[in-house]
Amino acid sequence: MKKIILFVFLLFVKSSLILGQVQVPDYPDDAYIAADFKLWADGKEILVYDTPVAAMASFCLTDSVEIKIWSKVSFMQVDIRPKHLNIISKHEGNYLTFKIPKNIKISVELDKRIYRPLLIFGQEPINEAEKKDADYFYDAGKIHKIGRVVLKSNQKVFIEAGAIVEGAFHFYETENVKIIGHGIIDNRNLTRKTGTQGIKGVLSNNFEIKGIHIIGNPRWTSAYFACADFSIDDVRIIGWRPSDDGIDIVGSENSSIRNSFVRVKDDCIAVKAMGAGTYDLNEKDYSQTGCKNVKNLLVENNVIWNADWGNAIEIGFETRAEFMEDMIFRNNDIIHVEANGGVFTIHNGDRGMIRNILYENIRIEDARGYLCHFQILNSHYSKDKKRGQGKNIKLKNITVSEGIPLNSIITGYDDEHIYDGVYFENLIIHGEKISSPIEANVFSEYAKNIKFIE
């Protein structure tokens, strides 16, 4: 019995050093470590992982802790986002201190240098029992170059905190796959030719993706085609490469994205209906898989940062299905939309009827493109000859707290392919309630029933 206890203890210690309320990830010696930030949680130093667009400190904690940060570059002013968390910091020289609760994802930005934030992810530990029956276990302190792992039904992947995996996990026509852990999939050294989606599910049901980090993926970071009944929870994505969409839900139903952090160059969360390509292991053709209706999607409690291209929350451009409907985006924080992207975007580029979309309790901080960018169009991504429609889209309790007063574009295609029913309820921009499309600077063509309701 003592041996078992010792084994379990060692297993636990190996993955992350337990120091009071904080578990410190044990990265390999040759991991990318940032030189311009240091971070201590409850006095214990946490190595700060480096990426070209952000430094990142990710660790487990069981209760609220005191954070101390050292920045190599001196600073005068601090933004800690999402701002509604109201984290008060104390600044002394090149040090900053503040307290965080558990299960938090924040961006610490010094002197508005949003090109070099320190991202802090503090989460509760994952139940250690999850490791035991993992089919693929990646332990801490190592870089695992795995290529593409193809999972079968009922298989589980566990990536320990402190483990770094280079490669991808794909699953086709499976049930009950699970990918879990607080480790990192870091694909920055892969190219578009050598890399692929970090996680890809096709025609699969009842799967769960939880806790992992995916960094620097050379293509869409994660994508799910024609899947059903799945959840993406507490995932952290940092991307800076072209076409690196964070999470793509394609022709799928009954899915959720919760408690995640997405900072990518292209679309952060994209909902589409389009093919999944060819599966090159068995040459099976999935080129039409994913051209299916999308239904029952819930996206909640996420922190979203859209950088150079794409949009924060996107439906489209590929809408090759009859219906894309019943989607709820609620209680999300949009902390940055850096360029021309929109916060809420629907680019209906194919034949789909997009309807019953609810955006609710969304807090927008620094967005620089558009609030809404709803279009029906024949785009360079379009394949259907028939154009689609949009109906019953509601935006409720939306606040824009800083930056430029955002404009919106709502344009259909022609008299028969229109947006019918875009409802704003309690839109607050810079503290003022907006009560008309004109006041909100909504430019519309081929659209009707754009209303502000009480």
Binding site: W309, T411, I438, F443
Partner: protein
């Protein structure tokens, strides 16, 4: 060929010519915008529709009173560029402006950057056109032409009068001493993007004068100069696409030399001005001056671009001066994106930037032959803007003597690279 066949051929040509070059459309076939209402000295004028802004084009003698009405209470007015100092008075849903002469500017109301109003007020001008000259192709005022491709040969002039609306494109190839003049409209909606039809293509030409034309909704680039020499462009205006066209560049200077660009007014989705290679092993761009102009860019490309087509390109002696960049949603203001091109002796001077939301400098040399040498940015003023950031990525290329002198943000001089939000800037000298 017997006489009968010759007569039939002539009749056929007259038939074709008649339908392709004369006015077979009516003014109702022009798309106008009623988003705003504009009166000039008490007379309402039509606003030409474009995807990015409704456009008022008219001529004035000396002074003019402009009344702009909107369908809502006006709470904020911006006349851009601001330094024009145009005075205005707000009265409920309308704004009164007083012009003291020719001017081109935006009227931006209540922070509406999606669809601001454009005013292009020209001075009356005697173009010295002899309409009976067989070398002059005239498109007359108050007529709409379904012209299609208009070919411009050596020693010919195309004159598009103020009030003329020409649906089509202009192409000159291997021509000398050519002119495109007039305050009329050239509009490209008849072309699909896939046709890659430029509004105006000047290729292998020498001695080109282009003045006064306004181009709307070009399918693929508004004004392309390729392998051409001795070109004068003045008072050219272009309004591009919000969604339909991806490649609506304003002015592409492709392997051309001795180019002067003065008083242009561009609002495009993609590059406003791009210097590019022509795809051959070696191409040269030399002696280019762009001055006294106004720029507005949407979601693709850059305002001032060197690239992306740079294979074999050597560009030198390029000057941009006294320019206003009013709005750029994405990408950069100053961009050098080069795999193997060499840019030498570039000067950007007295550039006022009012709203740059993403990047200011976007320099990315992606190949060992890519070089930037003697590039000077002087008196760069950034105002009313979120602080954009900048990249100067040398990679395998070489940046030599890149100087930024007198860079101000909201009238405060910035000499510290961190404060300037320069992310990567080892080779940049800022003073």
């Amino acid at each position: 060929m017997n006489r009968k066949k010759i007569i039939l051929l002539i009749l056929f040509m007259v038939f074709v010519f008649g339908f392709s070059n004369t006015n077979n459309l009516k003014l109702e076939d022009v798309k106008y915008s009623d988003y705003y209402s504009v009166e000039v000295n008490g007379t309402r004028i039509p606003l030409y529709y474009s995807q990015v802004a409704p456009i008022a084009v008219f001529t004035i003698k000396d002074e003019a009173k402009i009344d702009v009405s909107w369908n809502q209470q006006i709470t904020k007015v911006e006349i851009l560029p601001e330094h024009l100092g145009i005075k205005y008075k707000v009265n409920g849903n309308s704004v009164e402006l007083n012009l003291k002469g020719a001017a081109k500017f935006y009227v931006k109301l209540n922070d509406n950057y999606v669809y601001p109003l454009v005013i292009i007020a020209h001075n009356k001008k005697d173009w010295g056109i002899n309409k009976n000259d067989p070398n002059v192709k005239v498109f007359e005022s108050d007529k709409v032409y379904n012209a299609g491709e208009i070919i411009l040969n050596s020693n010919e002039t195309i004159f598009i009068e103020e009030g003329a609306y020409v649906k089509g494109s202009i192409k000159a190839e291997d021509a000398k001493n050519i002119k495109v003049l007039g305050y009329g409209i050239l509009e490209g909606t008849m072309y699909l993007q896939e046709s890659e039809t430029e509004a105006i293509l000047i290729k292998n030409c020498k001695g080109v004068k282009l003045e006064g034309i306004t181009s709307i909704d070009a399918a693929w680039g508004n004004l392309i100069l390729e392998n051409s020499d001795n070109i004068s462009i003045a008072d050219f205006n272009a309004f591009g696409s919000r969604e339909k066209r991806m490649n609506d560049d304003g002015l592409d200077i492709v392997a051309s030399k001795n180019v002067t660009v003065d008083n242009v007014f561009l609002n495009l989705r993609n590059n406003n001005i791009a210097i590019q290679a022509n795809g051959t092993e070696k191409s040269f761009v030399t002696n280019v001056t762009v001055k006294n102009s106004v720029f507005w860019k949407g979601d693709y490309g850059n305002v001032f671009e060197f690239g992306y087509k740079t294979d074999g390109l050597a560009a030198e002696n390029v000057t941009y001066k006294n320019l206003d960049v009013l709005h750029t949603l994405a990408c950069g203001v100053f961009s050098f994106a080069s795999k193997s091109g060499v840019a030498k002796n570039f000067t950007f001077e007295n550039i006022r930037i009012e709203d740059a939301r993403f990047k200011l400098f976007e320099i990315n040399l992606n190949g060992k032959n890519a070089k930037l040498c003697n590039v000077k940015f002087k008196d760069i003023q950034l105002s009313k803007s979120l602080m954009p950031y900048s990249d100067f990525l040398e990679n395998e290329g070489e940046i030599k003597n890149l100087i930024i002198e007198n860079f101000t943000v909201n009238n405060v001089k910035v000499t510290d690279k961190v404060e300037a939000h320069f992310r990567t800037s080892e080779k940049v000298i800022i003073k």
